[in-house]
């Protein structure tokens, strides 16, 4: 029986249809949308649709003082906010000719690597959830919470720390912090074999992620892919090693690579990076026990702080790839222009669109998560 306003229409037979995927969809990372053309359950074409998280950061930063922007920058990428602060602060320091004290540099490396760990743990959870391994999601999130507790101890905040300020960091380590952090690091390391059992060696993941969203090295370079996604195609490029900033030249770590370039390889690269991050963190903790000194350089009155005219382009290796800020100053109390280049801008739009073609619909979420695309970074 039809309702009385029902009108029957004849449409030409079609094998293709359009599917809206997101923004309100659990398989989407954040608030983002994809429009897929499907034939059966195979993706024929995919179109990304962003802007749901657009706040006009670049415009807002032009309206605020140099010091006020510290509060704004971490909000650009929610899962991994610290590299944002570091990149901004380093750009301001380059322009203003500020010298960061040694201890502050080590402290910055500490929070940067902790942030990478949280982001990767979150990623394990997210990627696992897209292949149906929910236990892992619970593990990833709760292990990440231990690190957030350390962050809270150090900076007073869980997610947005606003810890790195131009010229140094906001405060020194509280008593006993380095010990409790070491404990957490040991704990995370001890968890990795369990993650192996449940996740990395899990047949579900291995079968579903192998050969999914594969890109070769030439493709990755063409599409501007950076970070772990690029390293998963076999190119050992890491800004921490190739353009060392802070004290990265003084610590030992390996650049993890894989060659397959598929979703599984990307996950393995991140697993390796967790181990490397732990390694770096231990060295940093050792240094922090011995390096004394101030934690910030003297700053002028922050409300009347002018930065000399000029421009700077600074880059940081975030957990997702190459993060860069282009900042132009005209010598006034506010930036003239700030351009944020987030790694996800490359990953979540053109790369995702290209990688999903030919994939099955149930793998689209997995491909998106395996690229670790961060929508707020795309939208700014």
């Amino acid at each position: 029986m039809h309702p009385d306003h029902y009108r029957h229409t004849e449409l030409p037979p079609s094998t293709e249809y359009e599917l809206y995927f997101g923004p309100n969809h659990p398989g989407i990372e954040g608030n983002y949308a994809l429009k897929a053309r499907l034939a059966g359950d195979t993706v024929v074409a995919l179109e990304a649709d962003g802007g749901y998280l657009h706040r006009g950061f670049e415009k807002l930063m032009e309206q605020r003082l140099w010091i006020q922007n510290i509060a704004l920058v971490p909000r650009i990428c929610v899962p991994d906010p610290v590299p944002m602060e570091e990149t901004y602060a380093r750009a301001v320091e380059t322009l203003g000719g500020l010298e960061v004290p040694e201890r502050a540099q080590w402290l910055r490396m500490l929070v940067l690597e902790m942030s990478r760990l949280t982001a990767h743990l979150f990623y394990f959870g997210g990627h696992a959830a897209t292949v149906g391994l929910y236990t892992n999601m619970f593990w990833g999130v709760s292990d990440r919470d231990r690190l957030l507790d350390c962050f809270e101890q150090l900076t007073g905040a869980r997610v947005y720390h606003m810890y790195i300020t131009p010229g140094g960091v906001r405060r020194d380590t509280p008593p006993g912090f380095l010990d409790s952090l070491s404990e957490v690091l040991d704990y995370v390391e001890g968890r990795l074999p369990k993650f192996d059992d449940l996740f990395f060696d899990n047949a579900v993941l291995v079968r579903r992620a192998t050969g999914t969203g594969t890109m070769d090295q030439a493709f990755a370079i063409d599409y501007g892919v950076t970070g772990p996604n690029l390293r998963a195609t076999g190119l050992a490029h890491d800004l921490r090693r190739d353009y060392p900033y802070l004290k990265y030249a003084e610590v030992e770590f390996d650049v993890i690579t894989e060659t397959a370039g598929d979703a599984y390889a990307r996950t393995l690269v991140r697993r390796g990076e967790v181990i490397e991050s732990l390694r770096i963190l231990r060295q940093v903790i050792d240094k922090l026990r011995s390096v004394p000194g101030p934690i910030r350089c003297p700053l002028p009155n922050p409300l009347a702080w002018r930065i000399p005219a000029g421009d700077a382009y600074t880059r940081t290796e975030s957990s997702k790839g190459e993060l860069a800020y282009y900042i132009v100053s005209d010598g006034s109390a506010k930036p003239w222009r700030v351009h944020v280049r987030g790694p996800s801008q490359m990953h979540a739009v053109q790369t995702l669109e290209a990688l999903c073609v030919g994939a099955r619909i149930e793998d689209v979420a997995q491909i998106m998560f395996s690229l670790d695309a961060c929508p707020p970074e795309v939208d700014r």
Binding site: A48, D49, G50, G51, H54, G56, E58, K59, L60, Q63, L65, T94, I221, D222, Y223, G224, T226, L235, H237, D242, Y243, N301, L303, A304, D311, A312, Y313, R315, E322, A324, Y326, V328, A333, W336, R337, H339, R341, Q345, M346, V349, Q350, D379
Partner: protein, 178 residues
């Protein structure tokens, strides 16, 4: 000026007219082109001969006093490992330039973004449909002439927050010191 310019770069810079370069930071060259139309040739040479296969970003800066847009192409090479920022200036009036997305795929995203935020037109771009501002009816928001506070006042409401302590602080000349 730095003394040591990697060899492939020397040759490239000499072959493009109007190139001025200087060392901006360690392993970061700032290149300025006096003629905007030479940029695609420079990029092609950089990509073809000096291994600059990675376009890190294209930034746009609005200079309303000079009536110009500045476009900055940040390039990186996985072999030479020297970052290059190539600056060009465009007159704001037509606000047109050519797309380099044929050369560098990532340019597609940045050009779309700049078109949206600044209203610069790129000829031959991959896709210039709105991406972020699909529901936007106003002028390109990143231009200096766009007043976001005024726009907010006209379109949204918020409750003013003026507690007594703040008023007192302001009376005493607190807040921003110029």
């Amino acid at each position: 000026m730095s003394k040591s310019l990697p060899t492939p770069l020397e040759g490239v810079f000499r072959r493009v007219p109007g190139v001025r370069w200087r060392q901006q930071a360690e392993r970061h060259l700032r290149v300025e082109l006096s003629e905007a139309e030479n940029l695609p040739a420079l990029l092609a040479l950089l990509k073809g001969e000096a291994g600059y296969r990675h376009l890190s970003a294209i930034s746009c800066v609005d200079w309303p006093d000079a009536d110009e847009f500045e476009l900055v192409y940040h390039l990186d090479s996985y072999t030479t490992q020297v970052l290059i920022s190539a600056h060009i200036r465009l007159p704001a009036a037509p606000g047109r330039y050519v797309s380099v997305s044929g050369l560098y795929r990532p340019a597609g995203f940045f050009e779309r973004d700049i078109h949206e935020m600044f209203g610069v037109q790129f000829e031959g771009a991959l896709d210039l449909r709105p991406f972020i501002l699909t529901e936007w009816g106003g002028p390109p928001p990143m231009r200096k002439s766009f007043d976001t506070e005024g726009y907010v006042r006209d379109h949204y409401q918020w409750v003013d927050y003026g507690p007594e302590w703040l008023a007192e602080l302001e009376k005493r000349g607190g807040g921003i010191v110029e």
